[in-house]
């Protein structure tokens, strides 16, 4: 569905991302993990058109999207749910969701998508008139994902959805991600929380200093000694058992 080849990104002559290639197939969750500053967020921003890449190619359903504006990329069917949630805090929950449908002209379709979001996150319906800034961190994350869903995207780019949330809320977020996949959504998940990310994804890419250093089915990656040592803190993983 998404095929990134030889993507390079640089800021002021520093190469943030160097010649990376990866692929996401329809209906799967792919996790992209790595330490801070490894280039994960830059990669996501390049896919969603927020920043310009230096070279490479990003094919979405066979169509080149590199160089397109964020607007065109959203209408193509990719939505990026940014790190730190980034809801429109002074606008109401309802308005936030409506803005997700900014490019959707068909009111009926919009209504269906809103209902889908409210089904998935009933709390948002309760708070529909509240200012988004007054929601809790977990609720804001739900709103950010919900807003992304209203765009009608086929591919969801989730940047650190668990960042700064309480453990119980993190669990909910990961459940939501799995539910979304079961409903047919394709997801690229960027996480520092490597363990949980690998537990729900089918394949994992590991990024370090702007390059992909390892890739493979999540259970295999999780079993790698190096990965265990660096990302999983040396703990015995239960990821592989989960995948069996």
């Amino acid at each position: 569905m998404l095929k990134v080849s030889n993507l390079s990104i640089s800021y002021k002559k520093i190469n943030a991302v160097r010649e990376i290639s990866f692929e996401i197939r329809e209906g799967e969750i792919v996790s992209l993990i790595g330490s801070n500053g490894a280039g994960k967020t830059s990669t996501m921003k390049a896919i969603s058109g927020l920043i310009k890449a230096k070279s490479g190619s990003i094919l979405f359903n066979g169509k080149e999207i590199l160089g397109m504006s964020p607007t065109q990329i959203v209408s193509a069917g990719i939505v990026h749910v940014p790190e730190g949630r980034q809801v429109f805090s002074k606008l109401s929950v309802g308005e936030n969701l409506q803005l997700g449908g900014y490019l959707t002209k068909d009111r009926k379709v919009l209504k269906e998508r809103m209902d889908y979001v409210f089904d998935m996150f009933p709390i948002l319906k309760e708070r529909i008139h509240q200012k988004a800034g007054s929601l809790s961190g977990g609720e804001q994350q739900m709103l950010a994902i919900g807003r992304g869903l209203v765009t009608g995207a086929k591919l969801l780019l989730l940047d650190e959805p668990s960042l700064g949330l309480a453990p119980i809320v993190v669990e909910q977020v990961f459940e939501v991600i799995q539910t979304l996949q079961q409903n047919g959504m394709t997801i690229l998940l960027v996480e520092q929380n490597a363990l949980d990310a690998m537990a729900i994804s089918s394949r994992t890419y590991i990024m370090e200093s702007g390059a992909i250093v390892m890739e493979g089915p999540s259970e295999e990656v999780a079993e790698n000694e190096e990965v265990k040592r660096i990302y999983l803190g040396g703990k015995e993983t239960w990821v592989s058992s989960l995948h069996n």
Binding site: Q86, V87, G148
Partner: protein, 295 residues
């Protein structure tokens, strides 16, 4: 009592002009995070356009509409040519660029029309006067106030109710998130400039219509005052811009009307001192949120 009413009515007239200009500043600032120093020059463009069109024999009403359209085109053009390339440049570059645009437009206007004051002759109907609460009021004063009220309501409706308005608020709130839901920021900025230009054009025409005389430097001072009014009210807040405009005018008019003879001419000084004091107590303005330190 009569004097007070007269003063109040003068303040409302002047405040209406400030309010119209202040709204434009406020909208553009919230959406772009920059102050358009050339905003005041839009008043000049509107007035000169109207003057040229009327001299060419075009009927007043039609000329007004054309003048507004010309001003809007200038507004869009300025944003596209001058401001778009520096959108992500530093704050000082933005200030310098918009000042440069302002100086250039004024100089251009001077080169074409020279710097002498000109008279704008509007239809006699507008200068008809009548008594209101014992004070002589002219039709253009009423029109000025009415235009401000109507345009403010229209702008509020656009921003609160329409999809474009929601997108404008979204861009002001969180530009990057706005990109991510597919809002075309360039388009929203253009809309902000269109709204700002229409308001500035109307303000320019009303102002020159009222005072009948105008010149190429009419806009800058008005622009600076209206901007300070917008800051006083709280940049980014429409209520703030309108309230700031009227407060500014009330201060100016009442200081000049009520201060004792020797110091009355210091009205501008007093006005600014009061404004600075207000800002010291409420750095975000009277109705503002946290825009003071925005960079």
């Amino acid at each position: 009592m009569g004097f007070f009413t007269a003063q109040l009515i003068s303040a409302i007239k002047l405040g209406s002009i400030y309010a119209l200009v202040a709204i434009g500043y406020s909208i553009v600032y919230s959406i772009m995070g920059m102050i358009n120093f050339a905003h005041g020059e839009l008043l000049m463009i509107a007035t000169f356009s109207l003057w040229v069109l009327m001299n060419a024999g075009i009927p007043f009403g039609f000329a007004v509409i054309l003048a507004i359209i010309i001003t809007v085109l200038f507004g869009i053009f300025i944003e596209k040519i001058a401001y778009r390339p520096i959108r992500n440049a530093g704050e000082s570059t933005q200030i310098i660029t918009s000042l440069a645009v302002s100086i250039f437009l004024e100089a251009l206007c001077q080169a074409i029309f020279n710097s002498s004051a000109k008279a704008l002759i509007i239809p006699a109907f507008f200068s008809k006067t009548f008594k209101f609460l014992g004070v002589t009021v002219s039709v253009i004063d009423v029109v000025t106030f009415a235009c401000t009220v109507i345009l403010t309501i229209v702008v509020v409706l656009i921003i609160q109710k329409t999809s474009v308005g929601k997108a404008m608020r979204a861009v002001a709130d969180n530009p990057e998130a706005a990109d991510l839901v597919g809002i075309d920021r360039n388009r929203i900025i253009t809309v902000a400039f269109i709204i700002g230009s229409v308001l500035a054009a109307v303000a320019g025409i009303l102002y020159s219509g009222k005072y009948t005389s105008f010149s190429n430097d009419m806009g800058f001072m008005l622009g600076v005052k209206a901007f300070i009014a917008a800051v006083l009210g709280g940049l980014g807040s429409l209520t703030g811009a309108v309230a700031g405009g009227y407060i500014m005018a009330v201060l100016e008019i009442f200081f000049s009307g009520y201060l004792p003879g020797g110091v009355a001419s210091f009205q501008t000084t007093f006005t600014f001192i009061v404004l600075i004091l207000v800002l010291l107590v409420r750095p975000n303005g009277l109705f503002g949120s946290n825009n003071w330190k925005r960079s």
